[in-house]
Amino acid sequence: MLSTRPPDIAELEAVARTLRAHVVRTIAAAGSGHPGGSLSAVEIVTALYFGGILRHDPARPRWPDRDRFILSKGHGVPVLYAALAERGYFPVSELASLRQVNSRLQGHPVQGVTPGIEASTGSLGQGLSIGIGHAIAGRLDGKDFHSYVMLGDGECQEGQVWEAAMTAGNYEIDTLTAILDSNRYQLDGAVEDINSLQPIVDKFTAFKWNVLEVDGHDLAAVLDALRAAREHRGRPTCIVAHTIKGKGVTFMENNNEFHGKAPTREQLEIALSQIVHH
């Protein structure tokens, strides 16, 4: 499905609300999962899948010319499942099976099991390397597809991220874009308190990347950054998206209790009413 119509921000905001509702509903039904880091990524995923950024076709998930989106921070997969279902990769009704036995919707993304999932992730740090592999294959085959990799900020403590960053910079892989969902928290607390990434912009710049900073919840700004990243030549681009963990549900925002905890039935009702009336 090639999206040609310029995206309408109000429509995208409605999509984002739908994805948020799916996230809290599916995690509540599963009784486990990671709402915080799913909700922080909602606008980015919305922009990619509904904003005319990704060239993709849900009817042909293995289409060789498709753009690749790799969710390296695999624990955020509920928002990706929601987007894939709403785009028609599989029925929306299947979202209810998240994390259940015999489901295609595993707790973390699994390549080859769920249509539209490009890499098996959940062991942090690996997605950027995989994205480089896709990009090099595209270069060798003369294809113009783009590879997008979403990283978490805690994830950037992994050494492999910097191995990959060094290689992508030196190989001038400009068909690769990293999107850092910088929600400032990791499982055990604030990234800044545990092992700071700062100055992250300087780090990626030093590794020969083009770096953009954006409010990760401002859909228009996210779209602009994604378009600029795709057009940038000679360097890979890292979009540092400043986000709020748990965004859209007041009692989850910046509350790291909801890094990896499902809402109760009562909390779900409150969350849904906040999301719908946002």
Binding site: G112, Q126, Q160
Partner: protein, 319 residues
């Protein structure tokens, strides 16, 4: 049964044969891509790299990233061969192989060079003695330890044909030639090197030559040993092992690897379910080696024909 005394000639190292086979593959298949982590001249991936610079990536000392890149390349239809020392690619790339090759069952081909202690003087940090166990632990991986240059050539071609992840162990020293040029090597099918009905010597890698020499020694004492080159540790050739256990009643398994998780474990677990037979093991046990000349190390750590003969006598006592 009397058999001629085995005369073995020293051939090339299996790592050198790896490079040549990769080059041949590259000429016929544009999807073959190679990555190395700053050991291209030691693994001989450079033989491919200098002919196909556009399909060769020496990314420096980044084993984890190398495996991740291979995962992406394979996902986009390429057949990546990645090489480094076995100790490094299996040790530092293990989680990436788990998530990016085994779990999605991708066409990632891993060449781990400098397997075993026969690399010699560089010592334990470079001597891979756990690689076969690690590779066998990964679901869906084919794990192959070719004995000489001809077997390695065939194994590389087989790896390219095989749909799924493959681990090939490469050796540093020149290897005695035990196979003919053009030998047929099918993953999961042992090669009978010598027939015999008193006991079976099972080996892979450098130990195949030692098993053949041991069989000569045993023949001189009237003991008729069958010799199997079980190059593929996974999937193991159950049928050949069952026949060997049924027809010869005792086995020695010899390999340049730790005791746990290598060929010996694979043979024992294969036979235990169907045709239990006494087995003696010639391996490194549960210890690391040290620096030294390869032959000195193989003698000190008892990975020789003499060690196989002793094990044969022990196992025959248990028969």
């Amino acid at each position: 049964m009397s058999q001629a005394k085995t005369a073995l000639r020293l051939g090339r190292a299996t790592r050198e044969a790896y490079g040549d086979a990769l080059l041949e593959l590259g000429k016929h298949n544009r999807d073959i891509v190679a990555i190395d982590a700053d050991l291209a001249k030691s693994t001989f991936s450079w033989t491919f790299g200098k002919h196909f610079p556009e399909r060769f990536f020496n990314i420096g000392i980044q084993e984890a990233n190398m495996v991740g890149m291979a995962s992406g390349l394979a996902s986009s239809g390429k057949i990546p061969f990645i090489s480094s020392f076995a100790a490094f690619v299996m040790g530092k790339g293990f989680d990436q192989l788990r998530m990016g090759a085994a779990y999605p069952h991708l066409n990632v081909k891993v060449a781990g060079s400098h397997g075993g202690i026969s690399i010699g003087e560089d010592g334990v940090s470079q001597q891979s003695v756990e690689d076969v166990a690690l590779a066998c632990a990964l679901p869906g991986f084919v794990v192959c330890v070719p004995a000489d240059e001809h077997a390695m050539h065939a194994a590389v071609l087989a790896a390219a044909r095989h749909d799924g992840p493959v681990y090939l162990r490469l050796g540093r020293p020149k290897a005695l030639i035990v196979h003919e040029p053009g030998v047929e090597l099918e993953f999961g099918r042992a090669i009978t090197m010598r027939d015999g009905d008193t006991l079976t010597l099972v080996a892979n890698g450098l130990l195949v030559a030692q098993a053949l020499l041991a069989a000569d020694e045993l023949a001189a004492r009237g003991i008729d040993a069958r010799v199997l080159d079980v190059h593929t540790v996974k999937p193991i050739d159950h049928d050949a092992l069952e026949r060997a256990a049924g027809e010869t009643g005792a086995l020695v398994v010899a390999e340049e690897h730790l005791h746990h998780g290598g060929l010996g474990s694979a043979v024992a677990s294969s036979l235990a379910s169907h045709t239990p037979a006494p087995i003696e093991f010639v391996d490194l046990g549960d210890r690391y080696a040290e620096s030294g000349k390869p032959d000195d190390l193989l003698r000190k750590y008892e990975l020789t024909a003499e060690a196989i003969v002793s094990a044969a006598r022990r196992v025959l006592d248990r028969k």
